[in-house]
């Protein structure tokens, strides 16, 4: 009995950072949208049963010094469908400038849903606008992403093109969060550390495709993280949890997160489908003093429901 207790104590000490993270950053409940185009709320529908396909909304934010607390935009919104049986993954990037009805009321850029109502609002907005059910969400901030990639020992990425930006925000490296720095990511295969990967996925000024180019790069780095996650096991959770502490949140439990690790090693690149909502799914417009993307919902919903069940 004593040895069982002492063994458990040793394990608890080891997994303490993961336990702390589990308490602080995971298991956040979300309230789902009831029906398309409805802002009313009901308790969450039952999660997808174990082994069944499920949908995760991945959210990424510039939570730098310009912002306070959780009042941030989501520069990255990737709707992801994972089928554990077929090891098939679909990633659909939602342009952050999509001008859409928000679950919090009104119509605005979809990246503001999180600003106004946190993960709940982001999930509900996507559910009501795209007519899908979101089983889980995961949100990560800038520092969390950098720390995660560094903890993984960097990621291997085939940079699609020279990514040049003379107006890249210097909000992580200096005292002035409104200052700029220069970025030049050279093209081709390379090993990136956290900062380099962040520059690659965050820069958009020098890309004719603007946010679409950035979305494609974000999906690339997600796949690169997945490749590195293959190397991780249960014993690595404390380090990963420490790295992302306070810069990560999800409604998934630690066991659910841990169950995804082996899945990462089983999904091959050929089974990952990447979807971008380029024109004609969206078109440029200028509304309310801001550049936005007008969604063409019939086309978008048809495309979305090829991969995500209609709700």
């Amino acid at each position: 009995m004593g040895f069982a207790i002492s063994g458990a104590a040793g394990a608890v000490a080891y997994f303490f950072p993961a336990i702390t993270t589990a308490i602080q950053d995971t298991g956040h409940s979300i309230v789902h949208s009831t029906a398309p185009s409805s802002a009313s709320q009901t308790p969450a529908p039952t999660d997808a049963p174990p082994g069944q396909p499920f949908t995760v909304l991945l959210l990424g934010s510039d939570n730098d010094a310009k912002y306070s607390g959780n009042k941030v935009l989501t520069q990255s919104m990737i709707l992801t469908r994972i089928d554990p049986a077929t090891k098939h993954v679909v990633m659909l990037s939602i342009p952050r400038d999509t001008y859409a009805p928000l679950s919090t009321g009104g119509t605005d850029k979809i990246d503001k849903a999180y600003l106004y109502g946190g993960a709940n609002a982001a999930v509900q907005t996507v559910e009501q606008d795209f007519h899908v059910h979101v089983d889980h969400y995961a949100w990560i901030g800038l520092v969390g992403l950098v720390s995660l990639i560094d903890k993984l020992g960097g990621v291997d990425v085939v940079a699609t093109n020279p990514v040049l930006d003379d107006f890249y925000p210097a909000d992580l490296s200096g005292n002035n969060p409104y200052a700029y720095e220069r970025v030049a990511v050279l093209p081709g295969p390379q090993h990136m550390n956290g900062i380099q990967a962040l520059e690659y996925v965050r820069s958009r000024h020098g890309d004719l495709r603007s946010d679409f180019g950035r979305s494609q790069r974000q999906q690339q780095v997600l796949l690169a993280i997945r490749a590195k996650a293959k190397l991780l096991g249960l014993s690595d959770l404390p380090d990963v949890a420490s790295a992302m502490s306070a810069d990560f949140s999800t409604d998934m439990s630690i066991p659910q997160v841990a169950s995804l690790l082996p899945l990462a090693s089983q999904v091959t690149l050929q089974n990952v489908q990447q979807v971008l909502l380029l024109p004609p799914f969206t078109s440029d417009a200028f509304i309310g003093g801001q550049d936005v993307l007008i969604p063409h919902w019939p086309l978008i919903l048809t495309e979305t429901h090829k991969y995500f069940p209609a709700a």
Binding site: S6, G10, L164, D166, P187, Q190, H191, G213, A224, V272
Partner: protein
Amino acid sequence: MRRALTIVVLLALMGAFAFGVNRFFALRKAHVAEASTPTVSKPAFVLPGTIYVAQQGVMYKLNRGTFTALRLPKNGTWMQPAIVPGTNDIVAVMRTAAYSEVFQIDGVAGTVINQLSHNATTSSTIQLNHWMFWPRLSADGQTLYVSYDSPKSIQSYEIEFAVWAGPLSGKIASKQWTDPFSYTGGDVAPVPLPGGALLYSKYEISGGNVYSRLAIDTRARADPVYLTNDTDDCGQPAVSPDGTQLAMVCTGGTGLQSTRLEVAPLTGTTLGTPRTLVDNCLCSSPQWSPDGRSLVYYAPADATGHFQLWWIDGAAGLTPKPPKQVTQNLDLDATSPPAWSPA
């Protein structure tokens, strides 16, 4: 007394067991191998001549199976060496956070001879800085080609590389050679060809995707003659010393997460049918041997992702040998093509 002693021993054993459980989990962590410094590393076999590579901002030369660090200033990171034909010199890029400069370096002494560019501004307007990358010399060693982020306006987000050329002994970016497509990243990796034409990698956007196409400009600012199509997404060209073989790295059809190393015969502005030397890899930065029979390139050896130097004998022929890994446990800069000198 005996009872107290038993309790103490049991407590000590329990403590040791708890510690053991803790360490058991710790030892099962995935360990990210730290890369070795090249100077304490030995290649698996000796290649002829001298190969210059960069790792973590330091330039090294590999000669007779031994790596030596060049004695270069430490106010930036060093990369992208290129041989100055007919000499023991190289040119290379020193990169800082806001600009990069091209230097001429004595390859034997490993020291700077001359700073060839002046891209740093003393102004607080950081957009007045410039980048220069991929310096390459013409066959006679007199003309230097670089990818240069000029012209640009500090009032605009637009910035891309164009290929510029100039005399090695003068203003190196004095003549603009290529006209890049806007907001694509531009034109990179120039390779001067015998006869005065220029081969390079040209980025463009088509169907919402960005691609590289290999192109030849027969004279400055001429319309490019394309060697590859957009969906092949080929870049990182390296031409054999006799000008008849082109090595390249292609991403097309690989889902953007892997590449193919290919070689194709080159005649004037016509590219023959490519042969794939290595498929489904993270191959990068091929470079021909001085005799044109073999080539080196970078690729990771394992899942850590650290790039190593690989060698393919007979790469120009129809029956190339399988790739052989040259270095172990290094972290070579895959965006810095190696330079291979016969000396």
